[in-house]
């Protein structure tokens, strides 16, 4: 076992060695270095072929047509292109957008930008498990609603929205539906023949591909239109200009090909590891799992240890690489907006850990993590005045705190 142990696969994943090999074959003079847009020689043709193979692999994972895949620099750009692109194209139809309070910042900040441009945005509250129901979406729709943007899987708590059911609502109401699938592609089945999704943001680096490459799925039937956000050269059928990064694209394609072949087995394995982790922690006193446990990606566990502050917990767990919902590291002192939106109080939000498991996590890693976490929580509770008060039967909600 090598320390520190990486348990932050929801942040990014290492590149699979098979992916790295495919990428390395697209860089040097002896290999496939050409510009895929060069039409006049075989260097260009060969690069174009590699890019189109990759496009097919990406499309196959989500059961789409390769012509529906537009390469971007990542999911953030894909979200920007989808949201601003659709809003700008359909603005004559209306200027109302629906999203949720627990979206990724790429979605929330794109919506904020549109608000500055005169659009109106409704931010839906999730239920206490972190899910957005189709009924909630339907109720928020107005005659001037042009776009609904929701995530398939939440990056902090890993819960899975029922995209298929929400897609029926948006299609029936003739509203464009964008889905951020950065955390779900390669982990859950996505079938765009069945799901009535119009736009979908994808990334490579959450499923063992490289950083710096992603894609936007843009539905052809019924056709969805977007205004490009980057101009110059008219690549990607005019939707996203810029020379295609062959090695990045080939890496994403290989990562998606591997995911299609191995994701079922991998999901079973990571789920077993998460269940082992949860079993090892759930009998600790005052422990809370954040987000729905049934509708959840296999590799995610988000858990709060009441009366222990998240950053000090992470400090005690320096052999484990994971994330906390406590924002003590930032200047804001605001804890996770996702956990707050679930109705978790500030203490529990400050006390949360996100542990995400992936392809290279072992059972031994999980055993070690359980032992370290239990030890650290016990140690920090010994130090915690809140734990003392809880043990003395003091209701912390009734205390007049001197907030600073």
């Amino acid at each position: 076992m090598q320390l520190p142990i990486y348990l932050d696969y929801a942040a990014t994943t290492p590149v699979d060695p098979r992916v790295a090999k495919a990428m390395a074959e697209c860089l040097t003079i002896e290999s496939n270095f050409g510009n895929p847009a060069s039409r006049s020689h075989q260097f260009g043709w060969k690069a174009e072929e590699a890019v189109e193979d990759a496009r097919r692999n990406v499309a196959d994972l989500i059961n789409a047509d390769p012509r529906e895949i537009v390469w971007t620099s990542g999911a953030t750009e894909a979200d920007n292109l989808a949201i601003k692109g659709a809003a700008h194209f359909y603005h004559r139809k209306g200027k109302h957008i629906v999203t949720s309070k627990i979206e990724h910042k790429a979605v929330l900040d794109s919506c904020r930008q549109l608000e500055r441009e005169g659009y109106e945005v409704t931010y839906l509250d999730p239920d206490s498990n972190g899910l957005i129901s189709p009924e909630t979406v339907e109720k928020a729709l107005r005659p001037d609603t042009i776009l609904v943007s929701l995530m398939h899987v939440n990056n902090e708590i890993g819960v899975v929205n029922d995209i298929e059911a929400i897609g029926e609502v948006t299609r029936r109401n003739k509203v464009v539906f964008h889905v951020d699938a950065a955390q779900s592609a390669g982990k859950l089945d996505i079938d765009l023949e069945k799901m009535q999704v119009d736009l979908m943001a994808l990334t490579a680096h959450k499923l063992y591909g490289p950083k710096g490459i992603g894609a936007l799925y843009v539905r052809r039937k019924p056709r969805v239109r977007i205004e490009p956000q980057i101009h110059g050269g008219g690549h990607e059928r005019g939707m996203r200009s810029g020379t295609l990064a062959t090695h990045q694209i080939v890496g994403m394609g290989e990562a998606y090909r591997i995911a299609r072949e191995e994701m079922r087995e991998e999901a079973r394995r990571t789920l077993a590891l998460r269940e082992k982790l949860l079993r090892g922690l759930e009998d600790v006193e005052e422990v809370y799992v954040n987000g729905d446990l049934t509708h959840r990606v296999p590799g995610n566990l988000n858990i709060s240890f009441n009366f222990v502050e998240g950053e000090s917990l992470m400090m005690a767990l320096r052999e484990l690489a994971l994330s906390s919902g406590s924002a003590c590291t930032s200047a804001s002192l605001e804890p996770s907006y996702v956990l707050r939106a679930l109705g978790r109080n500030d203490e529990l939000a400050h006390s949360s850990l996100r542990i995400s498991i992936g392809r290279f996590t072992t059972g031994e890693d999980i055993d070690y993590a359980i032992e370290r976490i239990r030890y650290a929580v016990a140690k920090l509770r010994e130090l915690s005045p809140l734990w003392d008060m809880y043990k003395d039967g003091v209701d912390l909600d009734q205390v007049q705190w001197a907030a600073h």
Binding site: E309, S326, C328, A403
Partner: protein, 130 residues
Amino acid sequence: MAYSDKVLDHYENPRNVGRLDDADANVGTGMVGAPACGDVMRLQIKVDGDGVIEDAKFKTYGCGSAIASSSLLTEWVKGRSLDDATQIRNKDIADELGLPPVKIHCSVLAEDAIKAAIADVRKKRGNTEE
């Protein structure tokens, strides 16, 4: 975020963790911060007949810098008179621990805690001295 060796030392081996009997008229308690902000410090001091702090204990819910700030403070106040202890400034704590700018509030909280503990014990002892 990288922590200084001194913060790590206090975090790994916190000094004077515990609680003193709040019913004792010679014990002053300062509880500052709020769970919502991610920091709560409880600092307690016990004062002898000459107005000198003979013991100090703390418990802190908060980040490593908050724990280190309160741990350091308990070391500093022991053996000092109440008047002397009121002179401790957050900057002294921040400098000693090498706190980065985003963690200065931890040292501010520690200063607030000792001031609150001193005020509490003075109130409890009433006009019997000083």
